[in-house]
Symmetry: C2
Subunit: 418 residues, 2 copies
């Protein structure tokens, strides 16, 4: 079996970190400078390896090792190259570089797979930049609603997705026309290697996990409370329309419902990710008239997500009436829970056993581009790598030995896939 080129992966990880270090962590903004640096670096590696290198209208990058039967449906090994601000070096990039190290091994050994195998470096997975999930993969699969390019704006620049894409030389018009770069009948399967973003593998002492399924979620990214500004020392309680007081009441109710659902045996996570009064209009000795917040509800159970979503909507209208404020929850960018493809999962389990790599089978709390492939009806599965300290922070810590174990499993899987 061809051995993955771990030296190449290590060099690319180092180069990637150095080029996108922001002083605290790494920053690779969706359709921004850091993401582009990462794409350039991976494209160069693909050319150096003699792979076919292509970029689609949305800027996704494809490195293809030609298989014996070029008309057979291909296998995609994908993940993303963007990061959250001040994030870690491995979230996303580990999956792309695992694919590169496996294809490099095939090239070095002169091994030719039965079908085309493509490493896909995906754009725009981290929805902190644009308030929309899985932009790159959904764009490639023709799943992005045509209004998205011109209506979602990047949180730091305020410019639209279309403006950012065009600025890098890509083609937002193709998105508006609903074009596709990939179709279900061209792809046999999608496999995503990713660091685990929770603590299970660290706690259980295994280097990798075969993922059973992905949590769904219900997300209100731009919820808003509008009350009235006033003097905090003078306006009597009965006359207040205090947006912060309404937020506290609303948030405490939602967290109380989380307690009740958990006590009833349901499993979910509830997070108020952001909250802020207006930085200019609010201040000491003022009652705040505006609060913005973001709320994330995640669960493996579609029924639990639906129950909590209903509670949130009801609580918002009750609290709005009680505090005489307006609560606009805004758009909900939720996604349904997803079960990984049984055949691909079985193949990963066999590969891990053949390589004698210890593994667990666990669920994924985080969403991934895998969900977009699932949405398109393409068989999809994931392999997690053990990682300390979670992700979306500069302290994520994947051991290179664990990455090597994942690459061996992936190489075995590809070799046996036929």
């Amino acid at each position: 079996m061809p051995k993955p080129d771990l030296g190449l992966a290590a060099r690319l990880f180092d180069e990637l970190r150095r080029a996108t270090f922001d002083g605290t962590g790494v920053t690779r903004a969706t359709y921004g400078e850091g993401e582009q640096i990462a794409h350039d670096l991976v494209a160069r590696a693909g050319r150096d390896l003699g792979l076919e290198v292509k970029t689609d209208f949305a800027g996704n990058l494809y490195l293809t090792l030609a298989g014996r039967d070029r008309r057979a449906k291909r296998l995609i090994l994908g993940s993303h190259l963007d990061s959250v601000p001040q994030g870690g070096n491995f979230d996303g990039a580990a999956g792309v570089l695992a694919g590169v190290s496996v294809l490099a091994g095939f090239r070095a050994a002169g091994a030719v797979p039965g079908r085309d195998v493509t490493v896909m470096a995906i754009r725009g997975e981290e929805s902190v930049w644009f308030p929309y999930g899985y932009i790159g993969s959904r764009a490639a699969l023709g799943l992005l609603p045509p209004e998205v390019p011109d209506t979602v704006r990047r949180s730091d620049s305020g410019r639209t997705l279309a403006e950012h894409m065009a600025g890098l030389g890509f083609d937002p018009a193709a998105l508006r026309r609903g074009e596709r770069a990939l179709a279900g009948d061209d792809v046999r399967g999608y496999l995503e290697v990713h660091i685990e973003q929770g603590p299970v593998l660290v706690e259980e002492g295994a280097p990798v996990a075969v993922v059973i399924g992905l949590q769904g979620n219900s997300r209100w990214r731009r919820a808003r409370i509008d009350g009235a500004y006033g003097h905090s020392g003078t306006v009597p309680r009965r006359l207040r329309r205090d947006a912060v007081a309404a937020f506290i009441d609303f948030a405490a109710r939602v967290r109380g419902e989380w307690d009740r659902l958990e006590a009833a045996g349901e499993r979910l996570l509830v997070t108020f990710c952001t909250v802020h009064t207006d930085p200019v209009r609010s201040g000491m000795v003022k009652i705040a008239g505006e609060v913005d917040f973001g709320l994330d509800v995640s669960s493996f159970s579609a029924a639990t997500i639906a129950r909590m979503t209903g509670f949130v909507e009801t609580a918002a209208s009750e609290v709005a009436a009680r505090h005489r404020v307006a609560i606009d929850l805004g758009a909900n960018s939720g996604v349904a829970p997803f079960a990984c493809d049984a055949g691909l999962r079985a193949g990963l389990v066999r590969a891990a056993e053949d390589c004698a790599v210890p593994f667990r089978e666990i669920g994924s709390g985080a969403g991934h581009d895998t969900l977009a492939f699932g949405e398109a009806g393409i068989p999809a599965a994931m392999l997690f790598i053990r990682n300390r300290n979670g992700s979306h922070n500069p302290d994520e810590a994947m051991e290179i030995d664990d990455f090597a174990a994942a690459c061996r499993v992936l190489a075995r899987f590809v070799f046996d896939f036929g």
Copy 2:
């Protein structure tokens, strides 16, 4: 009795609004452009009226009408000229222009008061700019701790008070040395006309109020919760150190205690004025590791303030332990409740009765420079003018007829003061 020059006041109000309009309200930043424009305008009016015009080391402005006995302790008619961002035109300025219109009336009538009467235009009353209360009046009275000029920074510029003062040509070194521009034994009394910042006079249908006393407060301007960032879809509840969750728990407890104290007959106001997660480090799909907030507790009862302050401190340590976060409430910039001088109050009541101006006697929820004069042991009192829509917002609405009534009462008071 000399009639106040209301035409002059109306022209000055107009000019002031035009020169400091920000597109929404007026903005007159403490030791900033808008405040300086206002001081220049009032100084020019003083010179035009032939008054003695002086500025102290902290930039406070004094327009003095010489009295018959120049060695007698003087009477000060003061208020401030700064505003909150996007504030209203009358908060502060109404008191200064009431004094100017009264002295203009004395000049026009050739009336000479028994003692010097000084209109004092005070700097830096709105603590939204620098996190410290009554900067200008405390500086003039030698009550500003010597470290303040170099340690407090303006919220918008990040520069210190000393830097802002020096930039306008004033002398922060005098503050560091603890110099005084006014002393208790030079001042017979301090009288402040101010718009009411609550709704009582509108509801009760009276144009003015003689103020009985001022609320005290307990203010945490820069409280902070430090937890840990993490992925909102993956970190299990038991491992979270969620700063927003801790804020919600803490704030709900504090608001619950407000309910209990009110039910027990205590009167106080509790306001979370600001709250924000870090604009760069927080974002969707992240647990927030940091929250900043500001909390204002106000009451006419020192005992009630002390009780709530104790509760806040206890709740902070309980919530910190429960959520495994650190809660640093930061400095408390509180002030004790203050009772207005009985003699000055009686003089205001007599003046209102003599002018047949309907009035009420009420407490002041907001703090004012009056508190600094009280702190210095100077007899101090206040006259409120009816004002719709509260203050600290662009919609404050004082009727010019009510302002005129206040000016008549003030002129009568000064004329009779001797």
